[in-house]
């Protein structure tokens, strides 16, 4: 087991390296990072001198690999002879510095840490809703296969996966927020603010979960050991609860983890719809300057993308370890 975890952790190194390169390249890929930096500072029409000054200040005149190493580690330090400014340059990602946000006049990391808990709350609430709803719907539909219960349940689930999530959010805002006036629809100032975004995000995920649960449950119900359990005269309840459900949940649990990237994506969209003060809103609105945000702030984009990719990598790692723990075949196999 420890061997497996260590091997899996070693595999993280190239993945993290790739992630860091992708995130670093976001700014150089725009073509003129110095103009982007000035735009974020509110300078619309920079002069040649201004551009040149920023280029040196941030060290963008150096070769890319030096910039990358510096962005990661803070070395080589800013060189005053080159007019490089230690004040604006990141002290290195490895030391937890994501750069300085000109929009907010604060380090990007502070902004991220402020937003991260809100995102985690929203995701956790949505996850719970989707789990409860999806499993229930899936199991009941499988048990009542080819009855109106099944058709209604699966119809609802199919509808759930076919609705644009953000539109569902808009309609929820319109009906429950504006027409009925029951619930707040913008921002996050208390538990009642959580209800609509969490429900919107949760129901969307519940649709696909219900579909997967149903087919997994049907697979299990077809197995010989279920027939055996029934044949030896066990009560139907015992067959379902102790034999079928447990086995059906194994593939569902895997799929749950595999679908986490979709939850991250969904969160970004739903946060923007409800102006939820989380990572998604920070990334899309304040970083990318979309959805009513004013102008881009690339350091926030880098930080936000990095944060989401790190979450995805971590979730994937935990999934693998949990899976290996449950399934010895993987643990002792070639290392997966």
């Amino acid at each position: 087991m420890y061997g497996f975890i260590i091997r899996r952790l070693l595999l993280l190194i190239p993945i993290m390296l790739a992630v860091s390169i992708v995130v670093f390249m976001l700014l150089p890929l725009t073509g003129d990072p110095e103009r982007q930096v000035l735009l974020a500072q509110g300078v619309q029409d920079p002069s040649v001198e201004q551009l040149e000054a920023v280029r040196h200040q941030y060290g963008y005149h150096r070769p890319l690999y030096i910039q990358y190493i510096r962005w990661m580690t803070g070395y080589p330090p800013a060189d005053p002879n080159e007019n490089e400014d230690a004040g604006v340059m990141s002290r290195g990602l490895l030391r937890g510095d994501l750069g300085f946000s000109h929009k907010f006049q604060t380090p990007v990391l502070d902004k991220m840490l402020e937003a991260l808990p809100n995102t985690l709350i929203l995701m956790a609430a949505a996850f719970m809703i989707s789990l409860a709803l999806g499993l229930l719907l899936g199991v009941i539909s499988a048990l009542r296969r080819k009855t109106w219960v099944d058709y209604t349940g699966m119809g609802a689930a199919l509808f759930g996966v076919s609705i644009p999530n953000y539109w569902q959010g808009l309609m929820a805002i319109l009906i429950f927020g504006i027409w009925l006036g029951w619930l707040p629809v913008e921002g996050y100032h208390g538990l009642s603010y959580l209800i609509l975004p969490a429900l919107t995000l949760g129901t969307a995920q519940a649709g696909s979960l219900a579909r997967m649960t149903r087919s997994s449950m049907l697979d299990v119900l077809r197995q010989d050991y279920i027939r055996t359990a029934r044949a030896k005269g066990l009560r139907e309840r015992t067959v379902i609860y102790t034999h079928a459900l447990k086995n059906a949940f194994i593939p569902v649990a895997t799929l749950l983890f595999l679908r986490l990237p979709y939850l991250f994506g969904g969160t970004v969209v739903i946060e923007t719809v409800f102006n939820w003060p989380g990572m998604g809103t920070l990334l899309v609105k304040h970083g990318m300057g979309a959805a009513g945000g004013m102008g881009k702030d690339w350091f926030i984009v880098q930080g936000g993308v990095l944060m989401f990719l790190l979450m995805a990598v971590t979730a994937n790692l935990l999934c693998d370890i949990a899976y290996a723990y449950l399934n010895p075949k993987i643990r002792y196999g070639e290392g997966g």
């Binding site: 999530n165 808009l170 319109l174 077809r222 969209v269 994937n316």
Partner: protein, 289 residues
């Protein structure tokens, strides 16, 4: 050898899968919707009473009427005409996405599964890593860097979209590799490339079709979300997500304006999903019974 494959492809008309598919109500509804959408896209210019971008500024923000079936938007553009023309964007996005991702993923998957060994583990490492990434966030970052627009959206979604196809085709290649007719093809001296193209690929066509019908609507949904965020197809293009983005500015005053594009997306996506579900069940003998 060829007989077997011809038999496999030629017999679809009489195969149990086709019979099952024909009886499935979802197949009928799905096919009807998809055909309706395709013909709407083709004949959009004849169906739509106005040009999708023609402005009638003195008649802006109107509700539905006989003149404007679904009302007008903030610039007095006919929403019905925009919805009709939007089918072109939806189909273009769905089809282009599938074509691009499949033409990357299918060969890679076949290569991994058929070759095995180092090639396989290298490709599958990449596939696993890609599948673990949040595709939408990567796509948004790509568009933020390279700018919005239809083609950039497709490329952005393809960065992660190919991996699903690769994983599917690898599994197929692995399963088919052991079949007797592959061995026979090798015995008569067929080249690997020929074997993959003539035997492995045609025999994995049914799961591939299912995959296409399932990823196509998903791409339409994600792309419309990107447009809604303002990082996809941009207004004034009559793309449904972009229309929703503009309509939310006064959601309360003219809610119908936000309802129609959403319903349009649901209908199209539902149509493809019906079709996909019916195909999946038809091709899976365990589910038929």
């Amino acid at each position: 050898m060829l007989g077997k494959i011809r038999g496999h492809l030629g017999s679809t008309r009489r195969s149990p899968a086709f019979r099952y598919f024909k009886r499935d109500i979802r197949a009928k509804v799905g096919l009807a919707i998809v055909l309706l959408v395709i013909s709407t896209a083709i004949f959009a210019d004849f169906i739509a009473p106005y040009s999708p971008t023609e402005q009638h500024l003195d008649e802006a923000e109107q509700g539905p009427s006989w003149k404007y079936l679904m009302g007008t938007d903030w610039a007095g553009r006919d929403i019905f005409s925009r919805i009709v023309h939007g089918t072109r964007y939806a189909l273009a996005i769905g089809i282009l996405f599938v074509v691009v991702t499949a033409s990357i993923g299918v060969p890679l998957g076949l290569l991994a599964g058929y070759r095995g060994g180092k090639t396989d583990s290298l490709i599958m490492r990449m596939v696993d890593a890609t599948l673990a990434m949040p595709g939408l966030i990567i796509a948004l970052a790509f568009v933020a860097v390279f700018g919005p627009g239809l083609y950039n959206v497709i490329i952005a979604l393809a960065i992660t979209g190919w991996a699903g196809y690769a994983r599917l085709m690898r599994g197929q290649a692995l399963a088919i590799k052991g079949e007797v007719y592959i061995e026979a093809a090798r015995a008569i001296g067929e080249k690997d490339r020929t074997i993959v193209a003539r035997y492995v690929l045609p025999n994995s066509i049914s799961p591939l079709i299912v995959m296409v019908t399932m990823t196509l609507p998903a791409a339409i949904l994600i792309a419309s979300a990107m447009s809604y965020l303002g990082l996809g197809v941009m207004p004034p293009a009559p793309e449904w997500g972009a229309m929703l983005l503009q309509s939310t500015r006064n959601l309360a005053d003219n809610p119908l304006k936000s309802v129609f594009p959403g319903v349009a997306i649901i209908v199209v996506v539902l149509g493809f999903n019906f079709l996909g579900d019916a195909l999946r069940d038809a091709f899976d003998p365990r589910l038929r019974e």
